[in-house]
């Protein structure tokens, strides 16, 4: 039984989690101890035991580093115990973020694939467009996001769309790069074969380049969906009035609510994990249908 667990993933993952938790709790003590001593001093309490000090560092209201336990309690409160429609619910904020993420991912993927098709088929675009695609990613998104929001506001485009555009801005790039590589992956032999049938360009594209690019596409879609979530969260720091994980992070840092910040981070990470997993499942379904070895 135990052996089987070791051979699977469960026990190693649990072991790593346990080690992390130990370090985390120790870190909480170390980082929060000064504040706890001050708190005891203010309360006129001078003779406190080590146990009391540690106990105190793990139960502060605004610790420098909250414990995993505090974060879980906060997550439980804001995810399960709060009505999903409430602005205090992480489910509400999560749905705001995920909807912008998905729209941005959709726009970014379509744009990314479109650019890849152009780059592969039009030689001059390979030279002229690709440097811009690369350059676009050297601009820090945190600097660009407010400008996109302001400019789109000017055209009365508000709400979901500006955030999705920022998410798309981050997610099209891996898709373009991966898809270009994928569309170019057929070897000379596979291309020669098409030539012997005097296949035209669209047939070569549909029957050779596109299927050959699928593994590359899915690898980059996984990166893109995570990047899309990051883009959305950054956009929400700029556009916090609509809510979302970014707004939660911002509000938390205004009021020094570190537990709130950490729980928003955890929830965002969990969403990213779910999204990447979903793309992974789609990947497996498609490659299985395309005859990959199980």
């Amino acid at each position: 039984m135990l052996n089987a667990l070791w051979q699977g993933k469960t026990l190693p993952v649990l072991a790593v989690c346990a080690v992390l938790a130990v370090f985390w709790y120790a870190g909480s003590v170390w980082l929060n101890a000064d504040m706890q001593r001050d708190a005891f001093a203010n309360a006129g309490k001078t003779d406190f035991t080590m146990a009391e000090l540690i106990e105190g560092t793990w139960s502060q209201e605004r610790p420098k580093l909250p414990t995993p336990g505090q974060i879980l309690v906060e997550l439980n409160k804001t995810v399960l115990d709060t009505a999903p429609t409430s602005k205090r619910s992480l489910v509400y904020h999560g749905s705001v973020t995920v909807s912008a993420t998905l729209l941005g991912f959709l726009i970014g993927s379509v744009l990314g694939m479109g650019l890849a098709v152009l780059v592969v088929h039009v030689k001059s675009l390979d030279r002229s467009l690709m440097p811009w695609v690369v350059a676009s990613q050297t601009i820090p998104i945190i600097a660009l996001a407010p400008m996109i929001v302001v400019i789109m506001n000017q055209f009365d485009i508000t709400g979901l769309v500006p955030k999705a555009v920022i998410a798309a801005y981050l997610s099209f790039f891996p898709v373009t790069v991966g898809m270009v590589k994928g569309l170019r992956s057929p070897d000379p032999l596979q291309l020669d074969l098409m030539r012997t049938y005097s296949a035209d360009r669209s047939q070569i594209f549909m029957k050779l380049r596109v299927p050959a690019s699928m593994p590359f596409l899915f690898a980059s879609l996984k990166v893109a969906v995570a990047a899309s979530l990051v883009g959305t969260v950054v956009a929400e720091l700029t556009k916090s009035e609509d809510g979302g994980f970014g707004a939660r992070l911002l509000a938390g840092s205004y009021y020094g609510q570190t537990i709130q910040i950490w729980s928003a981070l955890f929830a965002a990470a969990a969403c990213a994990w779910v999204l990447v997993t979903l793309v992974g499942i789609a990947d497996r379904l498609v490659t299985r249908a395309m005859g990959a070895r199980p």
Binding site: L189, Q190, D192, L193, M194, R195, T196, Y197, S198, A199, Q203, K207, L208, P211, A212, M214, M290, G291, R293
Partner: protein, 265 residues
Amino acid sequence: MVLSKSASPVIETSELSLTFETGDGPVHALSDISLTINKGEFVSLIGPSGCGKTTLMRVIADLEQPTEGSISVNGMSPHEARLKRAYGYVFQAPALYPWRTIGKNIALPLEIMGYSKEERAERVRKGLELVNLTGFEKKFPWQLSGGMQQRASIARALSFDPDLLLMDEPFGALDEIVRDKLNEQLLRLWEKTQKTVVFVTHSIPEAVFLSTKIVVMSPRPGKIHDVIECHFPTDRTLDIRETPEFLDVANRVRQGLREGHSYVD
């Protein structure tokens, strides 16, 4: 002799040359190739690596352009012949698309050439039967052995029923046991379909066993050294390789290869 039947040329080349311009200067891949291949012949091009046999095949298939001389395929330029889908090409590797089943791979040229769905299904069935792969239609290439994959690629090349079959060392990557078996099967196939076959190899027994005409080539620059006719009975089996007649022809081929400086150590 076969020539008495009105021999109609399928491939005619005259003083054909091809020079690749490389960083290290020109490479004369083909030089002064004049060759006629008639309908229904099985012609082997044999020679060591670098003698231009594959290049000649690629020129016939319009995958390379000659720099000098003339060539016609079915009385047209190779380009026109390719656009008319005059030939099926079998490469050294099976080159099956891994995301397609064996059946779908065989149907690939048919899809490209716009055959109807029913027609495709019928031709795939016949193709599988022809190369003894019935029952493997739904398998993916990785589920088949190398020899089976190469047979599938032969079925694919024949699926649209071209009169000309170009085979570039199709069995070069296979072990000798499988190779012998496929040689026999190919001979039966040729007998049955009456195709014109051009076959590249560097195996002397393979060339002698299969061919009606053996073209011995020599390298640097790639040119024709000798052309040997051989006419064994069409229902021959591998046993013929022990007969004096067979060994005579094989010796002449070996002699030709030696004279062409192919065996310089």
